[in-house]
């Protein structure tokens, strides 16, 4: 092979591969939702999920609860549970 061919094969092909990878990685617009990192402030509105009431399995939906009137809330007996921080 002459010099030009050598250059193309051993330098051009790796560079072309790198260029294609860079295009695929950096050009697509980016995330719509910012990734959560521990320690960042949480700016979203609070949300409360409850289990789907009995219905056909596989139905994708979630329900957000309203905060109830504290006047008629009753305690669930001696409460248990755990807490953790990170």
């Amino acid at each position: 092979m002459n010099v030009a061919e050598t250059l193309l094969v051993f330098a051009g092909i790796p560079l072309a591969i790198i260029a294609v990878m860079a295009l695929l990685i950096f050009v697509p617009g980016g995330r719509r939702r910012p990734r959560y990192k521990s320690g960042q402030p949480w700016e979203h509105a609070p949300i409360w999920y409850e289990p789907h009431p009995d219905g056909p399995a596989g139905h994708v939906s979630h329900a957000a609860l309203e905060a109830g009137n504290p006047g008629h809330a009753s305690t669930g007996g001696p409460l248990g549970g755990a807490r953790g921080t990170w």
Binding site: P46, Y49, E50, P51, G76, L79, G81, A82
Partner: protein
Amino acid sequence: MTRVFDTEPHDSGTRETSTNVIDEEIHHDHLFSYAQLARLDEALTMSSRETGLRFTLYIGDLGTQTRTRAEEMHSQSGGHIAESVLVAVSPGQRVVEVVTGAAAARRIPDRACALAVLSMTGSFAAGDLVGGIVNGLRQMSDQAGHPSALRHAHA
């Protein structure tokens, strides 16, 4: 704040009707993607169905007294409170509170809750909210077992 949840009022809605209006334009995937919402929904629903307990999930601020606030919310979470479990995650404060009602606590002892919380905080510290929640729910529902197992002898 007198209300925990804010909804966007519809153009023609009054203050009283704003939360009752169904708006097709509401996109629920501003916080979690639909795939993540599906995972959360499945985890909550399957845990609740398999154990017969009511699991709910709160993600948001818990104020200065996080435990008190979580217990308050647990009492308002609907259904049978004694059989309810609330998982409250506050990513801004980096606190997770698990509250179990009396009947739920008999089936999921505090030690099991602590283990689930430990795995959850590990995932949260790594930035994986949904994965941590799903795994924590699975751990607790595995611990609780099926309600039918409590009534019948091993067959």
